[in-house]
Symmetry: C2
Subunit: 348 residues, 2 copies
């Protein structure tokens, strides 16, 4: 598979599931090689050696995990790097840095292993819907497969060593992406998510922005990696996720009962605008797509061809330009985004 | 024809014409009976006598003018009166007053003669498109027919006497209703219409509001009735109308050339919202219908079933309730307005 083909594959996490609120589940494990300094003090030569060692092991993996393709980021132009960021396959900081670094990807992107990000190895597993435990199982399986061939820095007392102390211990960061349009409409989202930091959890928008997250999507993740077992971390996040889902579903029910016409009007106008606009900003698109999905989830709107997450991601400026295979200035992007959305929001 | 049937007739002035800018042309002649005081000092009994005399003459007219039906306003409830106002067949002040008063209507509403408004008789002719001269011809024809049977107060030196001195002389008020969406979008409407008062013309919105007229429709009328011949008044207004049309068409051309995507986006979003909304305020409806008509006029949107002026008028709260034959509270109106607009904006 060429890089282009690989990047344009449908990402497993974007598949629609039965879960109306939890879009995707993610587990990330931070690992470092015993014999090398951490990336930020590694130097050019060392980075090259780490990339070579790790990427060879990554490409040699087979069995249940399947074939991973390794992409060196130095081979990608800025749009291609942006595509990886927009699809949540690499971090913005990996894209923004220089030197020997890259990512190994499964054909459906469920596995994405970054090399020489903040740590030598960052294993990511990203699955659609609410399945943290399965996500973690896959991450652990891949971790085991790598550990069989690589010497990861590990201390009995501290656990896995990481470049940043906040990741020491399990090296585990688990997160869920939740879609909370009803809580946003009912102005309850701050109230529901605001308490999470006190529970050791962090909340960010889909693309790292704050509480007024684009598309009403929020990432909730654990902050603490040390002194808790992986199981505790996952169980805790899973329980909190269940609570958030409950709040969102209650808010939807309230909207349906207390202001049915307001709700219907909102989702139908969103559908009408998506199917008719000729210029569409990225922010506008996410907002309207969010209302459209709410309407579809509630059975108020007929289903459209494409799925929500694909549309959200493909309307980002990097993906948009990559799909169309040409550079676009901002006003051309708004025009092409509108065209793409019109084509993909026809009825299923 | 029953009152209900008569009120629900399609008004001739709402018919689409070749004129993309001038919606309708109107001529009004103010007349008073020689033997009665003006309405504001007429008293209850006198008003009854005037109504009886004038209405009998009105109902006896035949020939080219055709049959007129007389409706006494005391027989109408407030919604029916509102319908007449919204269709521009009576003035708000006739609806708002009390006592013996009414209106004689042609089946297609081209003639509407108010009795006991500010003057005893106010002849109105209202035709679609840009045809002031024809409108005036019909008004004069009706005036002659009435004058053959009624003794109108007329002095050689002053002309027709009227209750308000601003109408003395010809008693003629001529107006055109112009649709100026491009001038509004380009923020040139103030500039173009602002100079008209200096030319002895008045500008109002479709329903009497100011410069931010609903639906981007403006009524331009003469202010001066004395010391100018009817022909001068009409020729002057006609020439100015031609200038306004020219400005609007230039603004449309500029929009098409300088910001084609902005324009397309605006009109397609309007169409999409009209076809999809579930709650629609009256103001919102007029605004969107205006953009929709602009798009249709410019060939950017496919034609819809109903015509612009009918939709503008039928979405007003009086007409809406009258069509549906029931009283509606404001939120029900928004819901029913959206339903009516969805049904009538399907493609032709």
């Amino acid at each position: 598979m060429t890089h282009k083909e690989l990047l344009l594959q449908h990402s497993a996490w974007m598949t629609e599931t039965d879960s109306p609120v939890v879009i995707s589940s993610r587990v990330r494990l931070a690992r470092n090689l015993e014999d090398f300094p951490f990336p930020h003090v590694l130097g050019e030569e060392g980075a090259g050696q780490v990339e070579k060692i790790v990427s060879q092991v990554l490409m040699s993996i087979a069995g249940d995990i399947g074939q991973l393709d390794y992409i060196s980021l130095t081979e990608l132009n800025s749009v291609e790097q942006q595509v990886l960021i927009e699809k949540h396959l690499i971090s913005p900081s990996l894209g923004g840095s220089t030197g020997a670094r890259g990512v190994a990807l499964a054909p459906d992107h469920r596995y994405a292993v970054m090399v020489n990000e903040e740590d030598h190895v960052r294993i990511q597993v990203l699955l659609p819907g609410n399945q943290l435990l399965e996500t973690h199982r896959l991450a652990t399986e891949l971790d085991d497969a790598l550990e069989a061939k690589l010497d990861f820095a590990y201390r009995e007392t501290q656990g896995y060593l990481t470049a940043c102390p906040t990741n020491v211990g399990t090296g585990l960061r688990a997160s869920v992406m939740v879609h909370l349009p009803a809580l946003v409409i009912m102005k309850q989202v701050q109230q529901v998510l605001g308490t999470l930091t006190r529970l050791g959890l962090a909340v960010r928008g889909l693309y790292g922005e704050g509480s007024q997250a684009f598309g009403h999507m929020f990432q909730v993740s654990n902050q603490i990696t040390l002194g808790k077992s992986e199981e505790d971390i996952l169980t805790h996040l899973d329980a909190v996720t269940g609570q958030i889902v409950e709040h969102e579903l209650q808010a939807r029910e309230l909207l349906k009962v207390q202001m049915p016409m307001f709700l219907e009007d909102k989702v139908w106008r969103a559908r009408g605008t998506l199917q008719n606009s000729r210029l569409l900003s990225s922010e506008d698109a996410m907002h309207l797509l969010s209302h459209d999905r709410l309407g579809t989830d509630l059975g108020l709107l007929p289903k459209i061809k494409d799925c929500f997450a694909s549309l959200i991601v493909d309307t980002r400026s990097g993906c948009l330009q990559y799909i169309l295979d040409r550079e676009l200035d901002p006003s051309q992007r708004d025009e092409e985004r509108a065209r793409l959305v019109r084509a993909r929001t026809t009825l299923a």
